[in-house]
Amino acid sequence: MTQTTYLIVGGGMTGDMAAKGIREHDADGRIVIVGADPNPVYKRPLLTKGLWSGAPEEKLWREPAAGADVVTGRRIVSLDLDGHRATDDAGEEYEWQKLLLATGAEPRKIPGADGVVWFRTLDDYRLVRAKATDGARFVVIGGGFIGSEIAAALAGAGVKVTMVFPEPGIGFRLFPAGLSGFLVDYYREKGVEVLSGETVSAASGTSVTLGDGRVLEADCVVAGLGVIPETGLAEAAGLEVDDGIVVDLYGRVSGRQDVFAAGDVARFPVPALGISMRIEHEDHANTHGKLVGGNMAGPVRLYDHLPLFYSDLFDLGYEAVGQVDSRLETVEDWQEPNRKGVVTYVEDGKPRGVLLWNVWDKVDDARKLIRSGEGTFAL
């Protein structure tokens, strides 16, 4: 039996920042972090960004919180909330006073598609990297965040890449249709074969069969189809789940003062937008994790941060805040069409999100605009 003041379930960036948040208020209380990943905490964004553009693996690692006991390669499999107990997959029991669920998310998978790399973890990166030799053929399934980033990274590494996705354009769920279509042409200019509007009927580690029967052979098949929050443990414990563990402004789960959730797995209220959201990006993982960790140990503070997310696609890059959703009305302000500009996402006449496309150091201005509830972003 391991006894601890704070048990953090999940060894990713959120859990790490939560431990640091706890330490700001409690220098001595024991912190135990249990994570399924066999590696200690690392900076996940580098797996599809920096490591492909020259950053060495040493840049991945983060210094863990002072005195936190980190258990890697173990998954908590059951919780007894009233008894303040948890059990991991090796049968070890943990007795805790405060619990944080930072279980993150798992990649969405195509049933039966064995051998495909569902890109998510450091081990996935290492596997893909080892196969990404000059001239190797890769198929990337998915045209969203991970699909577009890994395709660009692989192409930059000299790999022959074919992208397959059912939408008409890259980033179609995020960007206005014109920009999404431009990205298809842009990726093709960069040497990526882009098969947009294509369904997939079967996939394996070395081939993808399209809906029309065509077969794409490859040395490696990578998929980026989004992620699904790992809520199974919370559901089994009777916690409220709605595409994520439902938490309040302080990161507490409904009806309890001693159980919290943060990061990718948490559905949290966003006062500035009047909705709840679940966000799977670094800034939210760090900021929410640290704040909720602090709330476990000290006076509670509410989370009113509007998280940033960002990406690099070959020579293009963007930062965005708020609801960046192509289903909303979009107002575009381009200095150079599709190369440098700003898109404001509008609903009922109010700005809900801002996309800063190759425009830098404007995130705080974008946040202010969204909080103001009026206007659109102009360069």
Partner: protein, 73 residues
């Protein structure tokens, strides 16, 4: 409920409806829905397209709301 991301990616194995076809037939589809007709048989592939296409789904919801209002009147 089926995962809409996988429905979009994998298709349904039936006739694939594109946005143009959806746009052309949406009014008939909604009228059939409101008349409680078997729309999946009458319009194969239509539901899968609506699940997968946010633009057409929004159009579908708007049109359905409009026609429902007219029915009430």
């Amino acid at each position: 409920m089926a995962d809409p991301v996988l429905v979009r990616l994998l298709g349904t194995g039936e006739h694939a409806v594109d946005c143009d076809e959806c746009f052309d037939q949406l009014d008939r589809y909604v009228e059939a829905e409101l008349a409680r007709q078997p729309v999946d048989e009458l319009f194969p592939g239509f539901r899968a397209h609506l699940v997968g296409c946010p633009t057409c789904a929004e159009e579908h919801e708007s049109l359905r709301a409009l026609l429902e209002t007219e029915e009430i009147r």
